[in-house]
Amino acid sequence: MKSDKVKLPPYTTAGKFWKSLLICLPMIFITFFFLTGGEPDFSDTTNSIAFILVFLFLNFLFFKIIYTGKTDKFRATGFILFAVFLSLVFITNMVETREGMSFSSADLLECNIPFCHIVITMILIPIVFTNSIIFPGSILDGFAPVSTMLILWILASIALGKGFCSWGCFYGGWDDGFSRIRKKPLVKNINTIFRWFPFAVLLLVALSAAMTLTPTYCEWACPFKTVTEFEAVTSTETLIKTIIFLLLFLGLVIVLPILTKKRIQCGMFCPMGALTSFTNKVNPFDVRIDKEKCKDCGICEIKCPILSLDPTSIEKGKTHFVCSKCGKCIDACPNQAIHYHIKGTPVNKRNTTARTLFVFSGFLFLAIFSGGTFQMGIIRIINILTTGSFF
């Protein structure tokens, strides 16, 4: 039974300054610990400035999430900047250590390629069949070793489910950012069949990697090579690969997200997104719709950047299992009918605890993943401004 006028309940700690600050205290301590590595050292001015800026920035964002009761805007600010800073730091690292964005066959042979979480989609079957990791990165040490990345991904998946794709992923901020450029989409009503594309890509990537024992997606189809590192162009084959990377980045990460206001790469192509969707099944959090309050206006469906809502899912009061828990629909619903929810608890109730627990976990991952990158990025920016060189 739907009432015409819904009296909106106060949501979370919105407007309650001291209570919000209290909730933020654990985040303040944890980020302080992680950003200083447990050993605060303020002897170097540049490092200290970077630390203070990042510490304040991250905690400001989290405070706003708690205090305003709005999630997406503040999450996206950190998430998008993380992606941009990661590329800045990555590329400048490559320039520093290898004098360019490309890696050579020698780097491949010496297993000097940083491991990225998307590779997980390709290494699982070969691990079972051949007991080996088919990626030219180092297992335990170096920049982004395989073991650390696997552990982080498993932890993030357990804690956030596919929330990883909106809170933890290194690259997701790119198409999230471009999808926000236009106020209204030029291309509307995208068929929800496209939400199955990443699963087809995952199927092929997993099979082809198992078949060739090489990380095929990395070698042929990763758009983010454009903003990280790629194989040196030494033959027609590597030239074709480079053209593919550029075209995919241009199409899936820039142009289509701008035109559709959807996260096309993350929601309609990325095999890691597909694999991570399954972790939504084991994760304790989900996003639910209170059918008592919902007026079937469809605003959430339009707003969802990865096609996770449609009339059927709204009717069922659930998001689709590809939901990345970004919070956009929750913030957009004019009737406050959507909310973060802990599985097994009552649905028709905006649950402050569920929201606080989820945004805390999500933001913690974002802060831990991005903190070091932000600091390094700021140091590089200060260096270029003061000395004319990044290093």
Partner: protein, 208 residues
């Protein structure tokens, strides 16, 4: 016996090589166990014909065939392009879901549904002819035989050894949520088509 053991030993690797072609098709078709077994039998049957051709060629030309540029590049490349065309057309065949694609789907829907049966036939034949490590070993073994018959028998046993790994794939067709799996299978078949097209073009232009 040697050929049977070779087939059994390298069969999983065969399965992985042919997986990207046959798995999306089986998922997209769904259907009963009987239908899936029929599809796999068609796939294996045409692969068998390809092997028999290879057996004859191996005994006539010896091991040198696989090392010739013509075979490695032009023939395999052309085979890949035929396979890719088949897969891409199949992925657009009778789609009811995407409005823009329906236009092409309507043109294709004039073709009788039986047409889709040719997908496993083409796929089996083409993958049977394409170079993969198990096939290279089998070819070397067959080429060392004295007569065409011996060479064919060698390939027959190699085929039997590898084939046992394919039949369990029939159960893929029984997956739940048929509509979703059907969509994913169709998309994957189309994407596999694109990959094989690029591979084919690269081979023909002798880049790889």
């Amino acid at each position: 016996m040697e050929a049977l053991l070779l087939g059994l030993g390298t069969g999983t690797s065969c399965l992985l090589y042919c997986g990207p072609v046959i798995v999306p098709y089986l998922l997209a078709e769904g259907g009963s166990l009987k239908k899936s077994f029929l599809d796999i039998s068609l796939f294996l049957g045409s692969r068998f014909i390809a092997y028999m051709i290879l057996a004859i060629v191996a005994s006539l030309m010896g091991n040198s065939l696989f090392t010739t540029e013509i075979y490695r590049s032009i023939l395999t490349g052309a085979a890949y392009i035929i396979l890719s065309t088949t897969l891409i057309i199949y992925s657009f065949f009778r789609i009811k879901h995407v409005c823009k694609a329906r236009k092409y789907s309507d043109i294709l829907s004039n073709i009788p549904y039986k047409w889709t049966q040719s997908v496993p036939v083409v796929a089996g034949f083409v993958t049977g002819l394409s170079i993969c490590p198990p096939l290279l070993l089998a070819f070397a073994g067959a080429a060392s035989k004295q007569s065409i018959q011996d060479s064919m028998i060698f390939f027959l046993f190699f085929f039997l050894g590898t084939s046992v790994y394919f039949f369990p794939l029939a159960f893929l067709g029984l997956t739940q949520r048929k509509n979703v799996i059907h969509i994913i299978g169709k998309i994957a078949a189309g994407l596999a088509g694109v990959i094989y097209f690029i591979k084919g073009v690269l081979l023909i232009s002798n880049i790889t």
